[in-house]
Amino acid sequence: MTPEMFIQHALNSLTLGSLYALIAIGYTMVYGILRLINFAHSEIFMLGAYFVFWGVSLFSLPWPLAVAASIVFTAGLGIMVDRIAYRPLRDAPRISALISSIGVSFFLQNVAIVFFQAIPRGVYRPEWMEQPWIVGAVRILPITLFVPVLSVLFMLGLLYIVYRTKTGLGMRAISKDIETSYLMGVNVNRVIAITFGIGSALAAASGIMWALRYPQIQPMMGTIPGFKAFIAAVFGGIGSIQGAVVGGVVLGFIEIMTVAFFPDLAGYRDAFAFVLLIGVLLFKPTGLFGARVEDKV
């Protein structure tokens, strides 16, 4: 492998990893405060991409406006999902909300199939994104660098919210003890709604960037990235934002580099993440940045 090829692969890994990281942050935030694997997150990701497609093709919005509208809509959708499918189950056993989220995930996916048909569609890319920068033998599409930079900015913004604002304080309080948070006057439902809004907006952002990177969308596009991002979140220690980012990037590198170095394994690429997951859970069940929780007697 030439150095140029290696750099190319490394850049691709970084892009893919950052996309995983952005989705993983949504999982990790919801899991962190509600202890809920939000299966519907991968469908929010898919709808984010579709909303842009719709905005551009159906309402002929300019591209940046379509992106902004999509992010606002998906944030609203995330809040609605929480309101309808999760809030009534706050006092129920945790597994009920999980089943509800699987139901929501299937519901959104099939609504998308009904409305958009199951056929893959090409997406619009602004012209400046089509022009690769060529450095020596390395071809870099703007999106390749765009994604990691944006991911870092989003992560910093999020860390600011979680550690420097009142809402963030509320999030951290709820994640420790939801009942006590109620007693302490935290507006629990509002904080959770904001969390879902932020997580969904990030999922939309990554869905849009995913569609730009791999310019095709279809109703099932969220499933595999969704699972992998969840695995990234577990790998990094679920509940930790930095962990989600590190986990996402590591997963991106493992996936691309394994295929690059062992082309024979390319068919198995979708299984790497799951093997990693099972391995991580075996040796470090709480992930890299996770705290150990003891069983309460």
């Binding site: 089943i99 509800s100 139901g103 299937f106 519901f107 997951l277 099972i278 859970l281």
Partner: protein
């Protein structure tokens, strides 16, 4: 009610089922027979998942994986060598796949046993995990099975899958296995082991404190569950006569989970009833996807609508009737007797397992 009466009632019930199957085979059309077959297979799958999840409290999302294993093992064993020659067009079959041959009953059993073996092996690392981690890890296992089925071309024929699998699975086989499943799981749950499993479900820490070897019990339940999931997959393969990796997506697990949740976690009766109801409902919902004709005017069918209605139903059930159809109650002859005023104490059947 004494033991003898119960035995007689059970034998009578089985005879009634046999009579029904005999009648159905003779007088129902192929489509209805197919639905009955699917009902039997779905009940087997639901019972096995209920054992794992409803009675032992292990949230497993790996059913599609075990079913795939059962389906592939069974198909490899019942496909004739000639069929394998024509099926494996890319690179041919591995020698042992080409040579493997067995009658249907052995093939089904083998499917179940291999699935159980996988359940046993992955149970070792995975069953130490907590509920939703276990869910996602078993889901990962199912996904790995699917990816392997797509790529191990010399064994599974890759993405093309198998076509023309001999259709041995008729009503007798399916309902026969359904009874076996019910019998084994009822026996297991009525034994002391069953109480231990329920104790683990209700409070694992407390069960551990009482000296229960929690891990061993979980592994037992998981392995038995995987066995019957494999049997279900094997029967399904021979019933549909065609399998490919795409069949074993998460959707398949979702359908089984839906039956278990609707029927009631921890109720075998619930699984049986919901298995019948949901299989019929799923078939009936196909109408939504077919084009509707009003005179000359054609209303286009809506592909995907079936699953929209179906997933909505799951959300409604979990939001408004969390305990499902039956909660944790079971059918029992005593309760029927009490209802009919035959002298047994009312409510004596509650919480027990079907007689």
């Amino acid at each position: 009610m004494n033991r003898g009466t119960l035995t007689i009632l059970n034998v009578l019930a089985m005879a009634a089922l046999g009579l029904f199957v005999w009648w159905a085979e003779g007088s129902l059309d192929g489509y209805k027979i197919q639905i009955l077959n699917l009902i039997a297979v779905n009940i087997i799958l639901a019972l096995s998942l209920n054992l794992i999840y409803g009675f032992t409290g292990m949230f497993s999302l790996g059913h599609a994986g075990f079913m795939a294993i059962g389906a592939y093992v069974c198909s490899i064993l019942i496909l004739t060598p000639d069929q394998k020659d024509t099926l494996f067009i890319i690179g041919g079959a591995a020698q042992w796949v080409q040579d493997a041959q067995a009658p249907f009953v052995v093939a089904t059993l083998a499917g179940g046993l291999v699935a159980a073996l996988f359940g046993f092996i992955i149970g070792f690392p995975l069953l130490r995990l907590g509920d939703d981690y276990l869910g996602i890890a078993t889901l990962g296992f199912a996904e790995i099975v699917r990816v392997a089925a797509t790529n191990m071309t010399s064994v599974t024929n890759g993405a093309l899958g198998f076509k023309g699998i001999p259709a041995h699975a008729n009503l007798w086989w399916n309902f026969g296995w359904c009874l076996v499943t019910l019998y084994v799981i009822v026996r297991l749950l009525k034994s002391n082991t069953g109480n231990v499993l329920k104790a683990i479900r209700d409070d694992e820490t407390a069960a551990k404190a009482m000296g229960v070897n929690v891990f061993r019990m979980k592994l037992l339940s998981f392995t038995v569950g995987s066995f019957f999931a494999g049997i279900g997959g094997a029967l399904l393969a021979s019933l549909l006569t065609t399998i490919d990796p795409k069949m074993f997506l998460f959707t398949l697990t979702f359908n089984v989970l839906m039956i278990v949740v609707t029927g009631g976690l921890g109720s075998l009766t619930g699984s049986v009833l919901a298995g019948i109801g949901i299989t019929v409902l799923l078939e009936w919902l196909r109408v939504v996807e077919n084009p509707v004709y009003i005179g000359d005017f054609e209303l286009a069918g809506i592909p995907g609508m079936r699953m929209v209605v179906f997933s909505l139903a799951l959300i409604v059930v979990i939001l408004f009737r969390r305990e499902g159809l039956m909660g944790m109650r079971e059918f029992s002859w005593q309760a029927v007797g009490a209802r009919l005023g035959l002298g047994a104490k009312p409510g004596s059947g509650k919480g027990g397992v079907a007689q």
